[in-house]
């Protein structure tokens, strides 16, 4: 046990190098590698997280799992991820992130492989919950790497570059994995198991890249700290007082506004994950698109999300003097109106594509606010991490509950048409999405009302 812990613990500081040119060369070399590999590999890791969403319909059509069981399995990843993000955040601070992140990806790959073999609902739910927990190794490791190798003055830019990893991952999944499973000529028509095997292989390749190119803290290589190297060391950091930090963290829970934001974010995550998890199944089942086109539509909303995040920050800072509530309302409406068009609007592919793009833009903006920015504005700054963790747990539990209840509501409407053909019994399933759609749209309305109720709230210093 000790040797395992030692393997994952951050290395000891090495004797400082004296050759300035060698220090500069190593910093430039590793920083370039690190930003590339954390962006690339976090994106590759996403494929192992989203694989189930793409193969959901083939699994339902093959009669392997019912929608209710699919919802239960999908929700387990979100619960696992909520817990993982919280616990692994603490662990990553003490870890050699190259080993920690790589191990997370390898475990995630193995669990994806396991999913391809499991036809038992409780086993799949367990595997997928563990996958959620191991997926939670990624973000904290990347954040630790960013803070170790990039200084305060440049971290925002590099954080922005790293954030594009979500779209890389979603793009790879909703286009790449969908291409493997979709029927020809749009796809290769491979069995659904490939929807787990290929992500598993991608994650193992990602882990190897990380192990080769990601680095522990600069000091473990005999380099100075990043602040020292960049000449930004203004003071010696005060020693951490664990007791006072804990007290301040508890204060977050005593801020009523924080609870309202947590509930608003949780409601918004219901809609976000409903579209990510069930959107492509809805488009195939009810709107009649094939697997490839349905996933392409979902990709449009995630791609528009990159712009939404950036636009929200820019608009609220520049046009509203860093006041989030008015922009929350604007982006909330930009999310809700297209959502209504998607489900109740005309049955037209162009309208659907435009609605999904505007929805993705609006949703990502309001998520950037409710899922973090607004909470950080209000929380005491030295416990911003705790505020994020609090909102995060609420959000992912909301998303997890949604996944289960959506699956249950969809399953309750199921009509099976079974043809008996000698040795075969080809079965075609029919579902009605009216009830889950009301849940998804209703959650967005609740979120917008809760966010609007904080109209007069101002940021704390």
């Amino acid at each position: 046990m000790n040797s395992i812990l030692k393997f994952f613990t951050t290395g000891k500081d090495q004797v400082r190098m004296t050759d300035e040119s060698e220090i500069n060369r190593l910093f430039l070399y590793h920083r370039r590698n690190i930003i590339v590999v954390i962006t690339l590999c976090y994106g590759l890791g996403y494929v192992c997280r989203l694989a189930l969403n793409v193969v959901k319909k083939p699994l339902m059509d093959a009669g392997v799992f019912t929608p209710e069981e699919m919802g239960l399995i999908g929700s387990m990843l979100l619960y696992g991820y909520a817990l993982g993000k919280f616990s692994n955040g603490f662990l990553a601070d003490y870890s050699n992130v190259k080993r920690f992140f790589a191990a997370g990806l390898i475990m995630s790959a193995l669990l994806n492989f396991g999913m391809s073999l499991s036809y038992v609902v409780w086993l799949s739910a367990l595997l997928w919950a563990l996958n959620g927990w191991f997926q939670g190794f990624g973000a904290p490791s990347c954040v630790v790497a960013l803070s170790s190798w990039f200084s305060n003055s440049e971290r925002g830019r590099y954080y922005g570059i790293w954030s594009t990893a979500h779209s890389i991952g979603e793009g790879l999944t909703y286009l790449g994995i969908a291409f493997l499973i979709a029927m020809p000529p749009k796809g290769l028509g491979l069995p659904w198991q490939f929807g787990f095997w290929v992500p598993a292989t991608i994650c193992i390749i990602g882990a190897l890249i990380l192990y080769r190119y990601l680095q522990d803290r600069p000091q473990t290589l005999g380099l100075p700290s990043i602040a020292e190297w960049k000449g930004e060391l203004t003071h010696v950091p005060a020693p951490h007082n664990a007791a006072s930090i804990w007290k301040d963290q508890m204060k977050v829970l005593a801020i009523p506004t924080m609870w309202v934001i947590a509930l608003a974010s949780s409601s918004m995550y219901v809609t976000r994950y409903a579209i990510n998890s069930w959107g492509n199944v809805y488009l195939q089942e009810i709107r009649g698109f094939d697997l490839f086109d349905a996933n392409l539509f979902i990709f449009l909303n995630t791609a528009a999300g990159i712009l939404g995040c950036v636009a929200f920050g820019y608009i609220s800072d520049k046009l509203f003097d860093a006041r989030r509530p008015p922009v929350n309302l604007i982006f909330g409406l930009m999310e809700l109106v297209p959502l209504i068009v998607i489900f109740y609007g005309p049955n037209n592919s162009f309208v659907l594509a435009v609605a999904l793009i505007v929805y993705g833009f609006g949703l990502s903006g309001i998520l950037a606010s409710l899922g973090g920015l607004f909470a950080i504005d209000i929380a005491p700054k030295k416990v911003a991490g705790a505020a994020m963790g609090f909102i995060g747990i609420f959000s992912y539990f909301g998303a997890g509950l949604q996944d289960y209840f959506s699956g249950k509501l969809i399953y309750d409407s199921e009509i099976r048409v079974v043809f008996s053909v000698g040795e075969y019994s080809p079965t075609v399933f029919f579902y009605d999405y009216s009830a889950p759609i009301m849940l998804w749209v209703g959650a967005s309305v609740v979120s917008m009302i809760l966010a609007a109720s904080l109209w007069k709230v101002k940021a704390s210093d």
Partner: protein, 180 residues
């Protein structure tokens, strides 16, 4: 003396059978995967089934079986259709419903002419009587039928597909063009 070649022969035979079995399965899979390439060419010789199910628990269906599936001889085909029409008239329904309570089933309306057989069914289950499953025995009832093209419509959606004796699952892609 022990005949050492016997186990080798046996193993070879098993391997050969497995190989032939695998080839046969592979051939069937290709047939189902590429079905859309030739579906339009044999569409005239298929039975067509249209089913509408609404939230009020009303199920209406119409089944058209072309006479061509019963062979080239018009006389024999007519006899076979007549036989089938009698079978269907005697309450041998092509489908059965799994609901919480029994449904009210109308007498089927059967019409026979030289083109084939047209059968219309109607079942009233009621809006509070949850319909979970529709079992369709058409291909068991009509052994001459190789394939049926079905369109099933509910209040939420509509699906068109083909069911073939050769394929384990429904075939949703029926046309060459990449439409939905």
């Amino acid at each position: 003396m022990i005949n050492r070649s016997r186990p080798i022969r046996f193993c070879s035979l098993v391997l050969l059978l497995l190989f032939l079995g695998a080839c046969n399965k592979e051939e069937r899979r290709d047939y189902c995967k590429n079905h859309y390439l030739f579906h339009a060419d044999h569409a005239d010789t298929l039975a067509r089934l249209e089913v509408t199910i609404n939230n009020e628990g009303l199920l209406q269906s119409s089944l058209a079986i072309p006479s061509t599936i019963f062979g080239p001889d018009p006389g024999l085909a007519e006899d076979r259709m007549h036989e089938l029409a009698l079978l269907l008239q005697q309450n041998q329904s092509v489908y059965s419903l799994q609901t919480e309570r029994d449904c009210e089933v109308e007498t089927p309306e059967i019409r026979q002419d030289s083109d084939g057989l047209l059968v219309k069914y109607e079942s009233r289950c009621g809006s509070d009587n949850r319909l979970r499953q529709v079992d369709i025995h058409l291909l068991d009832l009509v052994p001459e039928l190789e394939e049926v093209e079905a369109r099933i419509t509910t209040d939420a959606t509509s699906k068109q597909f083909a069911i073939s004796r050769q394929c384990e699952s429904a075939i949703f892609r029926l046309e060459r063009s990449s439409d939905n």
